[in-house]
Symmetry: C2
Subunit: 352 residues, 2 copies
């Protein structure tokens, strides 16, 4: 394995690649000294961009890829035809130990398919999950997972998500012991789907060592009631997109209100610095970087429409995870869960 942290970048993925990719690498390289980058893609434009970004150039190596995967490519096509693409090569570098984590702003379905195919699921994890962050009223960011890797999850899989999400939140936020809850329609024990009640029971019964707070509801996500919100990929995807849509609606209405007449515009002009702060806090770029958790390798997905600073935020997630000890942290909890699931209920009772 290489010295320091090496990140494997899909130079061609995203709405404005490769420009914003190299810009993001430049910003991240200056903010986090010690990082090195393998940038996969079309050498000529990548090298030209690096000439204009000396901070990135000093720590990057361009690795030529013969093609790029478009946004319209389906996951199955990506697996058949994707070999040799910048996305494929970015993942392959992680698999082959030449880099610690991959980052791409490209086609999500293709990325997940290639990552699952090349890196395979970790031992003790049945299904990987996509974990995203969301701003909370307490000033921090909540981790929510799964936000779309699977449409359903049984109780044991939800517990695996809880274990992985907790370690992810610790790595990115620095919190020693993030609190965790299951997303439900009420806080009472008898509420919601059977899978969720099973997951709560499993966490309590198996001695999984996390700060488990039971159930939370949809409005607790933005409140920041807990640090990690666990749900299946269907519910998580809808919650995340509903939240994004609402934030966008309020932003649009605010903009309309503040351009609706001379007084509103004057007021807005005077309050501009304060409003910019609000915009920055709710800007998806500032909490960009969804992590595809549960594979034998770190895989970070940037929003396709991220700008340079947004892409740098995704790189930061990859770097923090690469520098963390999350694999060791989750191994013990996954083992506790697997032991308990493997033994019959009688044996569990006897052991207690």
């Amino acid at each position: 394995m290489v010295d320091g942290v090496v990140l494997s970048i899909d130079g061609m993925g995203g709405d404005s690649a490769p420009d914003i990719v190299v810009e993001g690498v430049e910003i991240a390289a200056r903010a986090m000294p010690g990082l090195r980058f393998l940038i996969h893609g079309d050498s000529a434009p990548l090298n030209a961009l690096l000439e204009r970004h000396p901070g990135a150039k000093a720590v990057s190596e361009v690795v030529a890829a013969e093609k790029a995967i478009g946004m319209e490519i389906k996951p199955s096509q990506a697996l058949r035809q994707g070999k040799g693409s910048s996305l494929w090569n970015a993942v392959a570098a992680v698999e082959e130990g030449r880099a610690h984590a991959a980052v791409s702003a490209g086609n999500t379905g293709a990325y997940m398919a290639i990552a699952m195919f090349r890196l395979r699921t970790m031992e003790g994890v049945h299904r990987p999950a996509l974990a995203a962050r969301w701003p909370a009223a307490n000033g921090g960011y909540v981790v929510m997972l799964d936000v779309g890797a699977n449409v359903s999850a049984d109780g044991q899989q939800l517990v695996e998500f809880a274990i992985m999400g907790e370690a992810f939140q610790r790595a990115v936020s620095g919190k020693a012991r993030p609190s965790v809850a299951l997303l439900n329609v009420g806080a009472e024990d008898q509420k919601g789907h059977e899978e969720i009640r099973n997951a709560a029971q499993l966490i309590r019964d198996t001695g999984v060592d996390i700060d488990f707070q039971g159930f939370v509801e949809g409005d607790d996500i933005s409140k920041g009631t807990v640090d990690v919100v666990v749900t299946d990929g269907f519910t998580g995807n809808i919650a995340l997109k509903t939240g994004e849509g609402t934030a966008r609606l309020v932003g649009q209405l605010l903009k309309e209100a503040l351009t609706s007449g001379p007084f509103a515009m004057l007021g807005a002009a005077i309050a501009t610095p304060a409003l910019s702060k609000l915009r920055k806090r709710m800007d998806p770029g500032s909490f960009n970087g969804a992590l595809f958790l549960g594979l034998n390798g770190l895989v970070v997905k940037s929003h396709g429409s991220a700008n340079g600073p947004g892409y740098a935020a995704a790189i930061e997630v990859a770097a923090k995870m690469a520098r963390s000890h999350y694999r060791e942290e989750i191994a013990q909890n996954l083992q506790r869960l697997a032991n308990a699931s493997a033994s019959p209920p009688e044996a569990q009772s006897a052991a207690n």
Copy 2:
């Protein structure tokens, strides 16, 4: 049946009952001439309040109820002990034909349990659903259901929700032909849970006469991509609460930003009328009034924390539904669905 529209009001339900209830009746009575009210509850305070609200007094009759149901009462307790309460009597007046619709800001679980017990489910409807409204970017309000009456729904039940939600949206918005879609994690036909795909197939196969637009995602709710968003009660409850939580977070951050220093405060002061408009648009009170659909009687739930104008908005929903022909409108579509579900696939094919 009585002449005109009579609404049956739970005078004692809600955080600030009976004060805001009577205030809401006063506002609604002035805004919608021709309404009459039965207000159930403690006669002395209700009559005292009516003395101070002449608009309400002129069209209201106080019906003494011996008790009120608290917020801590469980649905099963409400069924056993609720008889004679203002909530119970408000529902009973609808059942007995003395009123066209009930309105309460009280205990939701108790209200739903009593309403189901007294009014029973309509013919052709397997499970009732709770339908709520949500502001959309196009200036209107989206109807979403189920937002919490059931934790799951099969394909046929989702179609029943679609039929009922469409008629609800027509009654409250006046739109002749509201568009309808199923909430999913992608727009493609093969995405999501089996129930959702089944529902889409059923709508297409059975000739249910609605403007069905297929699948929408979480961010389409606030966009107003369609007028009616159909989902199961688990997903709908989480989507609604996540949206509410996000709107509250942005509102809180905006308030913090605009009080963060002298320039921000000056700007905010100058822009106050514009900001008030935004606040009003996102105020849950302005789109208050969830409808419990699918029972033999109209049952409207106000937010427990609604103020007078918010309570009047819930009364408006009840009045509009009472004046609509939604029962006749949904009967034909429910019959189409029932016919198709009752006949074996061969018979369906032969009939096509």
